[in-house]
Amino acid sequence: MIESILRATLLGLQLGVTFALVAAGLTLIFGMMDVINFAHGALYMLGGYFGYTIATQFGSFWAALVLAPIIVGVLGAAMEKFTLRPLYGRNPLYHILLTYGLAVMIQGVVLEVWGASSQQIPRPGQFTGSITVGPVTYPTYWLFVLVVSTVILTVIWYAIENSNLGILMRASAHDTEMVNALGIDVSKVFTGVFVFGAALAALAGVLLGATRSVNPGMGAGIIIEAFVIVVIGGLGSFKGAVYAALLIGLVTAYGALVAPTLTELFLFVLMAVVLLVRPSGLFGATEAA
């Protein structure tokens, strides 16, 4: 009993930090540009597929981990420049339709290029085994994912709070016009944040592609989880997204122990309860408008 709980805890934390990588991009993009990016799950999926191709073609998981986020980041830049930028300042609802269309498009491209069957990214040689700590046996790959994601999230957190770039980002989100008037090209900041968010999602796609599978449904699957996380954490809040992602990761893992078929139900009930008690999410701005 205690073993399965400990095991579920680690699985939950590992899922949580990777969810946080996806949700971080989503919440930062919303916070900066008021864009609800439906295509974010599709970018995560592209990360998984590029990772799969690179890892199997070059035989190196590490090349996949580095290259896939870069490729998806470049695609993200093109997406932002050619489709999203003309829509800034319009009602955010248009972004839903636009990014929904982009998600459908990417889904079509994935089916065309990689087919409908499910794939798996081979794990790196160093992390195929498992490790026994006390009574519990963990796959070493889980620990690897946990460490890598935690490091990345910590760096981002620190950067947002302390670096000049982070301050510029927060300032642009707070008052776009003012920052513009100070002579800073805010549209470059927007592009940067979008590219960064896309690359993070792709990174998560590679990391999870070696534990879960890489398949054409993974984008639509994760986007709902990511929305739940971002809404629970408070739209636009990075800190909120990280805490909520850990919460959702643990709920998913523990839920699988108690009632495997109902885990999804727990997620939505949790989201509904949080929204009813705190309408703007755990760390959102106080006003729910």
């Binding site: 609800i36 439906f38 420049k81 050619f82 489709t83 930028r85 003309p86 829509l87 300042g89 319009r90 009602n91 955010p92 609802l93 248009y94 839903i96 339709l97 636009l98 929904y100 269309g101 982009l102 998600a103 459908v104 498009m105 990417i106 889904q107 079509g108 491209v109 089916l111 065309e112 549209s187 639509a220 709902i224 929305f227 739940v228 809404v231 739209l235 078929t261 109902l262 999804e264 139900l265 939505f268 009930v269 989201m271 509904a272 929204l275 009813l276 309408p279 703007s280 729910a288 408008a289």
Partner: protein
Amino acid sequence: MKASEYLEELADGTVLDRAAAGSGSEVLSSSQRVGVVIIAAVLVVFAPIADATSPFWLNILTRILIFGLLAVSLDFIFGYAGLLSFGHAAMYGTGGYAAAWLISEVTTNALVVLPLSIVVGCGVAAFIGWFSVRARGIYFAMLTLAFAQVFYVVILTDLPAQVLGVETITGADDGLFGIARYGVFGIELGGGLPYFYLTFGLVLASFAVLVRVANSPFGRVLQAIRENEDRVEFIGYNVQRYKLIAFTISGGFAGLAGGLYVPFQSVASPGLLNWTVSGELIVMLLLGGLGTFWGPILGAGVVIFLEEQLAGFATWEIILGTVFVVVVIFAPRGIAGSLETLASDPRAAVERTKEALSSYRESIKR
């Protein structure tokens, strides 16, 4: 609204958008009504011809009508009251499941089953709405999404049967299949043509009722809530109650659409309740033209037609996605909006297209 906010809206064009959309004016002008009547008459006459020559097209037409009804029910709550529901699949699906269960267990009489589908749709909407109407904007959308997904999971895992300890109620992920079509007073409506007429009559009646409600004083209050919720509340209206009633009405029509769709396909599957249905519905709505009532039906028609036509190609999703992207960048008021501009002033339409193209070039150059 504070003066600064108003200026901001003026600057980004939302005020102009609203003026162009004709806020406050009557829903469906008299010339548009004539158009609706003419199209309806054409459909009535051509349905038997379509049935004789290619039943496939009659089938598609019936589906377009059902999804059109669903899209109009969403337009009522979103286009008029300004509430973006991301959970319309829940009312649609439960309405459909209610019809499936009643048909296989009780009766195939449409006069019994369809009203109960509406009641179930209203009930589910009232439940979801009661929790959700206190939230605004994107948070309302997310709450409706969460509750709709709860219904989805409950039906997918057949939770009622697990709780009651019976073998099956919703059929879990297989759904309920082999659902017979309706009969009225012993007349079977099994064939393509009778079912088309049943659907057609009900969709037309629902359309008329929704237009009537939208033009009533109640509908005007909903429009006022969309424009400025706080101000309506200060005047003394109970905004929450108006929103809840509007959401419930909308849910009833979504339930009716479900009750029409399930016997038509003879299957009730959990996929009816999934969020992708709500997403596709919003696409139909925005593509067709928000807040016009006839636009969403057009949008449903275009999406279903494209899906059918392109389904043969492996790349149909790429084409469909591209169409959405192009429409939202260059024709934000949807097909209906573009057609209205074209009809009222063709020359201005050409000018506007040029402007849209040049402003697009400007915005990506920066």
